[in-house]
Homo-oligomer: 134 residues x 4
Amino acid sequence: MLTVESWGFDFDDRTPIFRQIVLRFRRAFVRGESPPGGRIPSIREMSALLKVNTNTCQRAYQEMERDGLIYSKRGTGYFFTEDDTMLNQTRRELALESLRRFVEEMRALGCGDEDIVTELTAYMKGDEQHDADS
Amino acid sequence: MLTVESWGFDFDDRTPIFRQIVLRFRRAFVRGESPPGGRIPSIREMSALLKVNTNTCQRAYQEMERDGLIYSKRGTGYFFTEDDTMLNQTRRELALESLRRFVEEMRALGCGDEDIVTELTAYMKGDEQHDADS
Amino acid sequence: MLTVESWGFDFDDRTPIFRQIVLRFRRAFVRGESPPGGRIPSIREMSALLKVNTNTCQRAYQEMERDGLIYSKRGTGYFFTEDDTMLNQTRRELALESLRRFVEEMRALGCGDEDIVTELTAYMKGDEQHDADS
Amino acid sequence: MLTVESWGFDFDDRTPIFRQIVLRFRRAFVRGESPPGGRIPSIREMSALLKVNTNTCQRAYQEMERDGLIYSKRGTGYFFTEDDTMLNQTRRELALESLRRFVEEMRALGCGDEDIVTELTAYMKGDEQHDADS
DNA sequence: GTGGTCTAGACCACA
DNA sequence: GTGGTCTAGACCACT
């Protein structure tokens, strides 16, 4: 449903705002919170909702367009891509890349495969509580 | 053995170079590639090897000294700490950083926590075989 | 036959939609896909078929009428011109446009004029064989 | 040699200035007018030379970085990519794409293969004179 | 000094 | 109304 209103940005975070916007959209998109092919708020609307400059928003949208996540019709608006094979493929690639690097790093630290799983489950458990706090 | 020559830095990455250097050192440290208490190249040598500004190198060393990873003997040079509790702590920090990013990325892709574990085990299984092949 | 249904527009392209429509019409015209003097769909029909705003379609038709490619009979509809000098002229313009862009692109790649011819003949030769295969 | 001073921009042209900059660079790069790995003027210098805003210049540089033509070192500057295999590959791909489209368009207009070559040479001849005028 | 990000505000052509 | 481009000017962290 794309409940944008609650997207606050962390200005202390080193990651640029426009990238934070992209991340938010990616999550929403990949979780199916938004209908494929559906319209997304115009740059002006979005920048008003998020209380950021239109240019910042614009750049986020362009970034997403480059990645094939959304597309623009000039004078009409931005839309989520309809091609969900592309979506799944993208998701798959991103997941594999994350997995690859993660396993590589953990192994480099001397973790056996079971250790990695143990660490992971332990971490996610703790992280959950942390999330609940905030 | 600290084979520094092959340390290429990722200038695309948003993390500062000096921090990338620190990470490299920590990785080398926890992997046992460097003898505890061993000497590390001087700032001048290092900056020449890494083809990096001496200031950048300087800052990396400072950071590591602050963290207790290395220590300096005035007029003599920098040395790895001999304290192995330090080593474990470093390893812990690196693991947490990997975990944090991994979980964040996978969740951003819409994976639930159980999915993440499933994916991980599946990946490590496949990766094993793949490794055996090559 | 003017099989309009398959006309997808390239919203990535910087050329306006109305101009893309014109181009499609011209192409169909010089290819003989439409009988000279034949009727073309009304603006309303067309905009519905192309899933485009009626204003956009309107402007495309105006442009074509101005160029003499089509003409309108009040209260009756739009028709292709019967004048075949027009057809040749259109063909000429399209060819020039293709040539202009092609040469510009190849030169931007550092190709000298002879290189361009060489590349072209080589390509057409290879393309022929490739076509024969499939 | 990258003689930038004479790069005037056509503000009437519909193609954005930042893209015009990219095109200029591409041409210079692919023609070997710039040493691979060489430094290119900083954004501030460049924007002063070209008399455009730093942001415009920035965007041009980023676009080129995305395409792998140049890379940036934060706090240091922009440099041409050193990997010339990548360069050649890019050039090849671009050339093939241009060829493919051109031949397709000309054939669609009813040109035989010899006609295409004839048209091309005729066009380039005329274009040369036109260039000499300006 | 450098690149990178952001803002406020303007203008344009397109739908 | 929309997206797209550009400007002027600011701030930041890194080299």
